[in-house]
Amino acid sequence: MNECNAPFGFPHKHLLGIEGLNPIEITALLDRAESYVEQNRQADKKKAVLSGRTIINLFF
């Protein structure tokens, strides 16, 4: 995925490292995270954006 119309301006399938990311992509991630800071300080912290998704945490 290399086109620039990725939904949040982060045109990568994975997040494997910082090496290789450019300032625009890093800023895109930080801006989106920023939007969650206030939300997480509210009583209602839930959003449905991951509804139906399966996420596996695999810590060796």
């Binding site: 990725a6 939904p7 399938k13 997040l15 910082i18 890093i26 989106r32 995270a33 596996i56 060796f60």
Partner: protein
């Protein structure tokens, strides 16, 4: 080298695990693994998105992002800041990801550590290296401490914990040369009295350690949202 403990063997079992999980059609895999490079290898074998939660001494991208968010919120921007990363650079994936992020965003990065804990050739990453805390901390805006892993404390790397704290533990005396409002950071868990003095760690005016934890939640939420949105975006394009 015994086959049972070789990286090859570990690599093979890792891929078996990846294929098994892949068969369950997950959307995202978050992986932490003690071998550098293993998470990238795994990402090449699965269909889902992969987040590296730390691979060996290589990278820990979400830690660097949460540190960057903490700095940005406190200091306004990262560009132009002088940042010192102090301690066990050699074994630290946190240091490596932070060096990439901070230099990419235009900060000036210094590494401060004993010679035994500085990887050779690290200057090629665009950083300055110091072997003395007071010298390295001079005029810094940000002081990032790293956890000293207990298994490094005796033997080849360091003579003793007490000596390490004496020369490289962050206390108010060593902090004197840094900027008066310099922000103190630590990725946790801290070894109080080893790499950081308790008083400094608990100085709420200067220490951002609890904010880093809070930003960690926001960064991981954003990463999950963005990668799943990209999956959806790609699925639509391929219809």
């Amino acid at each position: 080298m015994s086959v049972a403990t070789s990286s090859v063997k570990k690599g093979e079992t890792l891929i078996d695990t990846a294929m098994t999980l892949n068969a369950m059609h997950p959307d995202v895999l978050v992986v932490r693994h003690p071998e550098s490079g293993s998470v990238k290898l795994l990402s090449e074998k699965v269909n889902c998105a992969v987040i590296n939660g730390g691979d060996g001494s290589h990278e820990h991208p979400t830690q660097a992002l949460l540190d960057a968010l903490t700095i940005r919120r406190r200091m306004g921007e990262i560009q132009g800041l002088r940042v010192a990363i102090c301690g066990d650079i050699l074994h630290s994936r946190v240091a490596r990801s932070n060096i990439h992020l901070l230099t990419t965003m235009g900060a000036r990065v210094r590494l401060i550590a004993p010679r035994t804990l500085i990887p050779t050739g690290i200057e090629h990453m665009g950083v300055e290296v110091f072997y003395d805390m007071r010298e390295g901390l001079q005029d810094c805006d940000i002081v990032m401490m790293l956890r000293l892993q207990k298994e490094r404390m005796d033997g080849n790397y360091l003579p003793s914990v007490r000596e390490y704290f004496h020369f490289f533990g962050l206390d108010y005396a060593k902090l004197e040369g840094a900027k008066p409002n310099a922000l103190i950071m630590h990725p946790g868990p801290m070894n109080r009295g080893v790499e950081i003095d308790s008083e400094v760690a608990d100085d709420f005016g200067r220490s951002a350690i609890h904010e880093q934890v809070e930003m960690g939640v926001a960064v991981r939420m954003a990463a999950l949202e963005i990668l799943t949105a990209n999956l959806e975006h790609n699925a639509q394009r391929n219809l």
